[in-house]
Structures are given as structure tokens and as C-alpha cells.
Amino acid sequence: MPDYMPHTEAEIESMLAFLDLASIDELFDAIPKALQVTGGLAMADGAPEPDVAFEMQRIAAANRGAASRLVCFAGAGAYDHEVPSVVRALAGRGEFVTAYTPYQPEVAQGMLQAIFEFQTLISRLYGLPISNASLYDGAASVTEAINLAVASSKRQGVLLSTGVHPTWRSVVKTFARGTGHEIIEVGLVDGRTDLASVAGREDIGTVVVPQTTFLGTLDDLSAARALCDQLGAVMVVVSDPVLASVLKSPGAMGADVAVGEGQPLGTALSFGGPYLGLFACSAAQVRRLPGRLVGETLDEEGRRAYVTTLRAREQDIRREKATSNVCSNQTLMAVTAAIQLGWLGTSGLAEVAARCISSTRHLAEAVTAIDGVELLLEGVPVARDVAITTPLAGEVLLERLADEGFLGGVALSALVEEGDGSVDPALRERTIVMSATERRTADEVERFTTAMATVIR
């Protein structure tokens, strides 16, 4: 009976005696007998840790696509970045990992200061004065941004660029079932949001555009700002935090709210979670901010101290009138991001961004030299992702590349639904999105290109 409970049989006896109970079962007398489980749960008995570790290793070994087994050229919202030992060691400290939400600030200054540093970093990257302490993931952040923007504009119409990651758009549409927001998806023309298609639609109070689309192209944020001015709409920009270090920030481009996926800041690929929802906004929107916010203040003796603030927005106080229902967030990933950014520093983050952009271009040039492999969008600059078409169905190509030792990218047919405005329907089946991070080498790209040429032939 291996477990983590300290009770000896003698202690259980004495505790029951203290309670004037004859058996443990009497503790549950308030539960109607007819409802109680009889004969135990239909599941295996417990097993010692080493047995479980072996079993979990077997399961892990069945993941052929792990980046430790296949060289990873997949991106599309999740990236294979360097996470050094120092970041893993610090982020894995038990004090950070096993704390709860900082409800008692006197014994939570560690977490609170780390979150304050995180908020500062995200505020700088996004060029906006306010950042919250994190949301669940990029999809949750864009959903919350829309909730904020609709509350602010008091108009239900939401322009959502199809350059925003397809699964995030699915999430937005799911939650719009509850809020009643009208989500108007707008297609891409040459990798940019087709803003002209909604000219004059005054029911739109929110415009959501990506700084870089999930296909890697750069959207026209100036045009989006102009549209927002014309409609009196709130401008929400989805921004990759790595690219944000070298591009003009969302704030500088006029965004009222900037959101993104913080996974590239120190969180492993992890099969998709836990990731990190980033959320920044202008000072004018701070009282509509979803989630927790840490502020600097003083303690009774005038010492600098940190505390969660503007709490009257939150669900535990405001209940059904709260700005959001979020309670638990992804603080550990936020602290991890602060540590990773501290490790990278100003020049390190800029170098990672430059390498991602350069290496993805290098990759694109290499593979498009193969007969039959073409860019999805010829002559359109891309940042850290690039979409290519090949003679093979994307999913078939990826299977064959895996046999050669590569996770070759993400098949669009698996990512976007048929009829999605982001891509020419005739090409969807044969398109994959690829990415090369700062970890990919010239040798890997060369071998990958050879493998692709072979499997296509």
C-alpha cells in the first residue's frame, strides 16, 4: 500500500477515539448509504513508484514524434526553443512549484516579485503599460481580449482575422456561444487581413489582427489601426513575444490590447500545455483587465513590497459582474518566462528572433530548390513560419519525413478547416507550415532537404 500519507494504524485509532468514532466509515455517515460506492472503485490497486515510472516510460517511448527523436521543423504556434539547465533548475524549485496563489503577500513576496518582473517584461515587449499575471494560453488570451473589447466598445461585432491561429479562432467561436459576440472572420489576401471586406460595418467594435499570421506573413497593422479609428473600434493585436523584440511593438503600432502565446519563453513543447497566455493593454483599459495584476507598494515599515491589486475586478469579489471568471492561471509559466528572459537578456532575445527569421528563410530557400516544392505565397516576406506546397498531401509528406528522422512541419489540412479564409482551398491539402528556430543547424537543414527531395520523388 504505497502512498504519501503519514498515518500509522495506532494514530488512526487514537484519532478516531478522540472523535468518539468506532470506525473510519462513520466519518461518512452524512452520505446516504444508498449512494455510497460498494466494493471499491473498478480500477487497479496502487503500485510503487518504480513500477509506475517504468509504465510511464513505456508510454513516453510510444511518442515517436518527440523532438528528442525527430529533428523538429514544426512551429505554427509552438516552437522548439533552447531552454537551458539554469532555467529548468530555477523554475523547478519547489518553493515556486508548490505554492498556491499569493493570497498572503507577507509569505509570497518571491512569487509576487517574480510576477512583477514578468509583467514589466511583457509590458516592454508589447509596448503597453499594463500586463496581467498570465492567462491559460494564447487562445484564452485572445478570447478574453475580445470580451474586454466588446465591453469597452459596447458593440457585439468582432472582426477576427483568419491570420490568427486556427485553433485559437475555434476557441473564440466556442466561447462566443455563451457571450453572444458576433465573430466575423475575415480572409487573407497575400498574407494580409482583407480589411477592405468590412469597410463601413459599424456593428464592429473589435478588430483582432495578428502581427504575424500563423502562415508566417506580416499583417498590416497600420491599416488595422486606421480601420479602428474609422469604426471607433478597439484594436487587439496577436503578437509572438520573440518576434516582438525586433519588430515595432503592438503598442507602437496603435494596439489597445496585445495578446500572445508565451510558450516560446522557456516552456517546453509539452504536447501543448501548460503554456502561457500573455495579455497587455493600455492604461485606459486597466479596470477591465482579466485575471490577476501585481502592483508594487510598501509594507507597514515602509519596505518595498508586492501585492495583487485592483482586486475588485475579480470573480471572488465581483462574482457574476467580474471582468472574467479566471481564478487559477499559469503563474509558474510566467515566472519561467521571466527567468528565461533574464537568461537571454536584451541581446539574447534579439538574437533568437533574428536567428528564427534568418533560419526559416534559409530553410525555405533550401526546400524550394526541390522540383515541385513552392512557397504558398511567392514574394511575401515571412518571419518565423513559412508555408510551402509540395506534390504530396501534407499528411503523407509528414509521415514519410518522419521515417527519415524529421518532424517536417504541420499539415494545413490538420490545422485549418475546409473553406477557411486563410488559404486557397485548392492548395490546403498540399500545404505544410514549417519553422526553423535558433536550435536548427545548417547540417540539419541540408539533411532535411535531401530527405524531402527523396520522399517526394
Binding site: V52, A53, A61, Y136, S347
Partner: protein, 503 residues
């Protein structure tokens, strides 16, 4: 009753060297200093202006902070020393189930083969992950008595919102538009907040003198406009809703569904199942019941399980066991759609499955038994100074009231909570549930020893005596912590949310 061994959960011996303020990363920064080291790639880095339109490029890269690796380690290590955690000592924070988080689970979650899998990798390359998720879904359904589950929601609140959208989809499929959700006044704030986001109006149901849902008031509120009720059972007062069968029958009778807030599932593992109580939709907090660490505020995971009649509406794509024994993805026929950007907080799911496998069905029942035993032992042990709001057998947590103490001494629940920090224990939850005056909610969990509970009780006794003799000593607490009470009003009045906002 005093045991001999020293209490393992009392953190009063933790050394904190000095009490200077810790500089921020930015204050430690020295221009030109670096820590990072990247792989040698052999791919030349071209000037960005050659690759991207110049008008989109920033003039200079974002200013981060420039520190050495050595200073980075020192800084975050010192910050960690300013942080209470389960690893450090007992954390009886009610409603949060701050049990010990087994280290094995961390090792599993960091394993190559799990931690380094791209979320868009095809199913043929992620068979292990799919199997893990299917197995976890099966285990959670067995524990809760439900038919199927989604593992996508990232936390309890996300589970609530998902569950309420499922409720709405179910009614809609029956051509039934219902506008109201019933929620007891003892409920957690996320319940009404989630209801609002799913488009429902909230009708609050009062609590009766037993501390349970007022059955008469509930019956009164029920009609064909009620989509369902959200219940926590045991409820937030730590009491089992004894009338659950009657409640379920009454709600079902008007065509409503029952939603179960699983925050308190720890109390009933292997004892009674929400499905058998009549619930149709439930969420679990894996970061409570299944010991996945809370990370200082998250990540959690809030899987939602449903009864047969709601199965078709579950979010997709769902990990699925295929007929040939392999695993794939499938989307339920009338799915509400995705509720997560990928597949959920997957590494949290891996930790939870590991915990479940170590405990097994037998161990999970022991978890509930000992959690409830510990809470009841503490309830009686501290009852002289801290009477329970409802003095009878509780479940995994006990809510005591400081009303009498406050009246006699002026010392409030928050003061007791702060003074307890000096004694080496994390505070209980205070002022929740909102309906109990001067509430102090203790949830010792099953992983604290009798010696630790005794030490906690002795500390509470000392505080009560002190409150009568020297109330100023109690209200002055805490004095031994890295900072003393913080000025929350000032934080809100002169908002400084970033280093750059300082004047």
C-alpha cells in the same frame, strides 16, 4: 493528546538571512553583460532589414535586463526563499487542497518523450500521449461515475464555463431555451462568473441553518426556465449536501441539469461518486484532488466529465481508442468545439495519471478517509477557541468562525491568519465562504501528520490566549516574515504594475 515526534510540517525554523529588499532583475542589470549561450548552427544570421520590410522593424531591440547566469541564479533563489510552499510546511488553505505533491510526478512531466512532443505532431507519432489521455479519461470517469470526459479545460473556472456551454448545448438540442442557473450563496465566485459568461442569469439559493442548500427555497426557484444548478458537494462549508438525491430529483423534474463543482472531490474519492448522486456535468481540479502542484497560482487542469446524455456535445478533438487498439482523435457529433488552443494542460495531465497509478482505487479511498479524519480531528481539537460554524462531522475541511473571538478581543480572522504565519504555518482561507462571519477555513489534507496537526492546534491556542491577553501582539503580526502587512490601498491608489511605472 500530544505525540512525541517533532512536527514535520511546521516551517518556523526556515532561515531567512536579513531583511533587505531584493533588487529586481532590472536593478541588477549592467549594459553589455550576458548569460545566454545558443547552439552553433552554421546558418548565417542576415541583417533583418534584408528579410523584412524596414518600416516594421524596431529601431533597437526591446530592453530586457542584462545579468550574469550566476546573478540570475542568486536572484531567483533568494526570491524562492521569500515564498511559502507545500514543500516548506503545512498549507491548510481551505478549498485549495494543498496536499504534498509527489516528486515522481515532476520527473515524469520532464521526461523526454512527453515534455518534448510538438502538439501538432500527427497521431501516428503521438500514440503514447493519446494512450495516456485516454487512460486518464477512463480513470476520472470511474472515480466520478460519469460516461466520458474532456481534458481540455486549463483550470476549474475553464471547466465551469465549458460545462455550462455543454448545458446550454444540451437544452438547445432539445429546442429548449432556458435562461437561469441556480447557484447557492455559499458557492465560489467562479461559479456565478462562469454562468454570466455562458449567457445565464444567476439565481442565488440561500443556505439554511444546517449549512446546506435550503431545499424549500430551491423548490421555490425551480421552473422550466432553469437550465440547471451548480453545486459543490461537499459544499464550501465542508459539509456534505445530505439532500442531494432530493435536489437531483427536483432539478431533473423541471428538465434542468446538475453541475458539480469538483473543487472538493478529495473528500469523497472512492466513497461516493457525483454520477451516482445524479450530477450530469462535473469539473475536477487536478491541481487539488490529484496533487498536481499549483505553481504559485497555476497551471491547473480542469477536466469536465459528463453523463451519457451530454456526451455528444463534448469539446473535440478528443483522444480516442480505435478499434484496432491504436489511438487517434475524434470529434463528438454535436461538439461545442474547442476550449483550448491545443489539447489541455497536458503535462499536468501526465502528473495526475502518475498520481492515480501510484494510489490506485484503494489508495484514492484512503486519501479521502485520511483527509476527512484530519479535518475532523482538527475541528474538535481547536473547538474551544475556534468553534466550527456548523458543529458536526465535517468532510475534508472545516470552517470555524472567529465571531466570538472578535467580539471579546477585537482580533479578527485576518489577524489570526497573519499571526499564524509567524508560527510557521500557512494561513487558512479567510472570509470564504462569504456567508460565514469571520470565516477561517482549514483544510489540512491527508498528507499532514498528527504531530503537525497538533503543532498547528497549539499555535492556534496560543494565538487565542494572546488575543485575550495582548491583542496588539496579534494584530501587529506578522513580524518575522520578509515583509510585514502590505499597504493594499496604496497599491490600488498609485498603481505601479511594472518597473517602468515607478515615478
Amino acid at each position: 493528546m500530544t505525540a512525541g515526534a517533532a512536527p514535520g510540517g511546521r516551517a518556523s525554523s526556515a532561515p531567512l538571512i536579513g531583511n533587505d529588499r531584493e533588487p529586481t532583475l532590472f536593478e541588477m542589470s549592467v549594459p553589455g553583460r550576458t548569460a545566454y549561450q545558443l547552439r552553433t548552427t552554421g546558418i548565417p544570421v542576415r541583417p533583418l532589414a534584408e528579410l523584412l520590410p524596414a518600416e516594421l522593424l524596431a529601431e533597437s531591440p526591446t530592453d530586457i535586463a542584462e545579468v550574469s547566469e550566476r546573478d540570475l541564479v542568486a536572484h531567483f533563489t533568494r526570491l524562492s526563499h521569500r515564498q511559502f510552499s507545500v514543500d516548506l510546511g503545512a498549507y491548510p488553505l481551505g478549498s485549495c487542497t494543498m496536499k504534498y505533491n509527489p516528486k515522481l510526478c515532476d520527473t515524469i512531466a520532464a521526461m523526454p518523450g512527453l515534455a518534448d512532443v510538438h502538439p501538432a505532431a500527427p497521431a501516428s507519432m503521438t500514440q503514447g500521449w493519446l494512450e495516456l489521455m485516454v487512460e486518464l479519461e477512463d480513470a476520472l470517469c470511474e472515480v466520478t461515475g460519469m460516461a466520458a470526459a474532456t481534458l481540455q479545460p486549463s483550470a476549474g473556472a475553464a471547466g465551469e464555463l465549458t460545462g455550462l456551454l455543454l448545458m446550454a448545448a444540451y437544452h438547445e438540442a432539445n429546442g429548449d431555451r432556458r435562461r437561469r442557473v441556480l447557484i447557492p450563496d455559499s458557492a465560489h465566485g467562479t461559479n456565478p462568473a462562469s454562468a454570466a459568461l455562458s449567457g445565464y442569469e444567476v439565481t442565488t439559493i440561500p443556505t439554511d441553518e444546517r449549512g446546506l442548500v435550503d431545499l424549500a427555497a430551491l423548490r421555490e426557484a425551480l421552473d422550466a426556465d432553469v437550465a440547471g444548478i451548480m453545486l459543490t458537494n461537499p459544499n464550501t462549508a465542508g459539509l456534505f449536501e445530505e439532500d442531494i438525491a432530493e435536489i437531483a430529483a427536483a432539478v431533473h423534474e423541471v428538465g434542468g441539469l446538475l453541475y458539480y463543482d469538483g473543487a472538493n472531490l478529495n473528500a469523497i474519492l472512492g466513497v461516493v461518486r457525483p454520477g451516482d448522486m445524479g450530477f450530469d456535468i462535473i469539473h475536477m481540479n487536478l491541481h487539488k484532488t490529484f496533487a498536481t502542484p499549483h505553481g504559485g497560482g497555476g497551471p491547473g487542469a480542469g477536466p469536465v466529465a459528463v453523463s451519457q446524455r451530454v456526451v455528444d456535445f463534448l469539446p473535440g478533438p478528443k483522444p480516442t481508442r480505435l478499434e484496432d487498439g491504436t489511438f487517434g482523435w475524434s470529434t463528438p457529433p454535436r461538439s461545442i468545439g474547442r476550449v483550448h488552443g491545443w489539447h489541455g494542460n497536458t503535462l499536468v495531465l501526465a502528473r495526475a495519471l502518475t498520481y492515480i497509478k501510484v494510489h490506485g482505487g484503494d489508495g484514492l479511498r484512503r486519501v479521502a478517509e485520511r483527509a476527512v479524519l484530519n479535518a475532523n480531528w482538527l475541528r474538535r481539537r481547536i473547538s474551544e477557541h475556534y468553534p466550527a460554524a456548523h458543529d458536526r462531522i465535517c468532510m475534508h475541511e472545516v470552517v470555524v468562525t472567529g465571531t466570538a473571538l472578535k467580539r471579546a478581543t477585537g482580533v479578527r480572522a485576518i489577524d489570526v491568519a497573519k499571526r499564524l504565519l509567524e508560527e510557521g504555518f500557512h494561513s487558512p482561507t479567510v472570509y470564504f465562504p462569504l456567508i460565514i462571519d469571520e470565516a477561517l477555513m482549514f483544510e489540512p489534507t491527508e498528507t499532514e501528520s498528527l504531530q503537525t496537526l497538533e503543532a498547528l492546534a497549539e499555535a492556534l491556542d496560543r494565538i487565542a490566549v494572546e488575543a485575550h491577553e495582548h491583542p496588539d501582539e496579534v494584530t501587529a503580526a506578522p513580524r518575522t516574515t520578509p515583509v510585514r502587512r502590505v499597504d493594499e490601498a496604496r497599491a490600488a491608489r498609485t498603481l505601479i504594475p511594472t518597473e517602468d511605472a515607478r515615478v
